[in-house]
Amino acid sequence: MKSEYKIISDMIEKNARVLDVGCDNGNLMEFLKKNKNVDIRGIEISKDKVQVCIAKGLTVIEGNAELDLKQFPKNSFDYVVLGQTLQAFINPELVIKELLRVGKKSIVTIPNFGHWKVRLNLLIRGTMPVTKSLPNEWYNTPNIHMCTIKDFVKFSKTINFEIFKSLALMNKNVSTINNSNLFFKNLFADLGIFLIEKKNEN
């Protein structure tokens, strides 16, 4: 967790305006506030987690990213962060488009479904993969739209957004993903972290 926060924090400029979508217990918000002095807001769907955030003095709105991002005007934030939740949305395409409308830039992290353990799990056992980072069974998982690092890169071309930075997290090691190592990163990374921006509209 902490290494993911560190990577996200490194991508964000000091004093920026940030929105954390699916901010959970507000841990990342606190981390960014402390390290980057950002003006940060959160959206969280769980009432209990909103309460935890309020108790930490964080500004959080109870809401659903698929329905409630539309209230923010275009470019309201310098960065919109979406940490490991893209796969849980009914319509990830809409969410990505909303992130890029509301934020000038967006940081998206995804648990990598292309990891070799996941692949092996399905190949050998013939059942939906259950791993340390994906602990749920197929019937009770909130992750209804899993994707791999390679899928996400492909996705950027389909719906036309720019990937500025792509990093892979393996255990606690961070490395850059590029065209030549994509095959390996997609096989070994636990997490993909992407800094994205909409393509120039004009």
Partner: protein, 374 residues
């Protein structure tokens, strides 16, 4: 009827031009305070009461001898902690607990105002109350807090005086009274004015009180403050001190008896004309229209930090209407948090012992207070 040693009153000399066009001055504003104002005068919270509330927020209400209307939320170590904060609450103008209202005597005619009292608005109500800040020499309140009509006052206050509150907590309210809200208020007013003891509002000179009408108004309103589920769980079809139906029109059911009781105790403490005036003020409340259809403009000059709270079972001021306030604030990048509290207790949830609500309110205020000190 309002002269009482337990009621603190500020006589406001400064003229106030009301929305109806009339100007009032030298009028009484009854208020109460709790806790101590610190030397920097930065720990004051102005609490706004709802339709039938008054300035006696917590502790024993010296007039009714009952607990203050927000005793669950306000007091030492409570959500609005009177060990930390200086709490001020004023009786709204138009009210009947000492502030300038229809039961006061008109100095010109030497008669009780009754319906000759000017129609007042939420805007007039907060414009009158801001005089209390000047009285206590408070430049900026730490917070303005209120539920229901109190929440409307929070919104109007921040809009009218954008620099005079650091934080704002509108609870279970709306920025614009809906047709349904107006309909229920009209039902109450019709019940009062249909009572033959109302005498066009001049009941005091006839030495009567439109008790029946006011009680019915209260009963109808009381139903809107509760949820269907809450009523069902509390009363169901339970019978009132009888084993079987009596085939008549006595209160067979506990819910009937309960409502009758609520109606009867209400007439002892509330003035019928005040009920007409205050419900009218609520009905006229439309902050959206006041800002030409764009609610965001109401808040564009304030840096206040907002926290909006709604309740799942509140159908009088439902979550969506509270969320509309959040949306308007987000549209201008204001600092706003929002939570919908799970509760079966309907609109009344904000007045009751709803731990999640009380916790959220306390956490927001206490954390914001620390933050402002840093």
């Amino acid at each position: 009827m309002n002269i009482n040693k337990d009621i603190k009153t500020l006589i406001v000399e400064k003229a106030l031009k009301l929305d109806c066009g009339q100007t009032i001055n030298n009028y009484p504003l009854a208020y109460e305070t709790y806790g101590l104002l610190n030397d920097k005068k930065d720990n004051a919270i102005l609490v706004f009461h709802a339709l039938t509330g008054d300035q006696f927020v917590t502790g024993k209400n010296p007039i009714t001898n009952k607990d203050g209307w927000w005793s669950f939320a306000v007091g030492p170590n409570k959500s609005i902690d009177t060990n930390k904060y200086f709490v001020i609450c004023a009786n709204v103008i138009g009210g009947c607990m000492g502030s300038f209202g229809p039961s006061h005597e008109n100095p010109e005619t030497k008669k009780i105002y009754g319906t000759d009292f000017p129609v007042i608005t939420i805007n007039d109500i907060v414009n009158a109350q801001v005089n209390l800040l000047d009285h206590f020499e408070i430049k900026k309140l730490f917070s303005v807090v209120g539920g229901s009509m109190g929440g409307m006052q929070v919104l109007q206050f921040v809009s009218n005086f954008p620099d005079r509150a650091k934080t704002a907590v509108p609870i279970a309210c709306t920025s614009s009274h809906s047709a349904q809200n107006i309909a229920f208020n009209e039902l109450g007013r019709q019940a009062i004015t249909a009572d033959h003891n109302w005498f066009d509002g001049k009941y005091s000179s006839n030495k009567t009180v439109p008790e029946k009408g006011l009680a019915v108004a209260r009963m109808a309103a009381h139903i809107t403050y509760l949820s269907k589920k809450g009523l069902q769980e509390k009363f169901g079809r339970k019978l009132q001190e009888r084993d079987d139906l009596k085939f008549g029109f006595d209160a067979d059911f506990q819910i009937e008896s309960y409502l009758r009781y609520q109606g009867s105790v209400f007439v002892d403490r509330f003035d019928a004309n005040s009920y007409l005036y205050i419900t009218r003020a609520m009905d006229y409340f439309d902050l959206v229209k006041q800002f030409n259809g764009n609610l965001s403009n109401a808040f564009k000059n304030t840096k206040a930090k907002f926290f909006v709270i709604s309740f799942t079972s509140d159908w009088l001021y439902p979550t969506q209407e509270n969320k509309d306030i959040v949306i308007a604030l987000n549209a201008i990048g204001a600092d706003v948090g929002f939570v919908e509290i799970e509760s079966d207790k309907g609109h009344d949830s904000f007045l009751l012992d709803v731990p999640d609500f009380l916790k959220a309110l306390k956490n927001f205020l206490d954390k914001s207070y620390i933050e402002k000190l840093l």
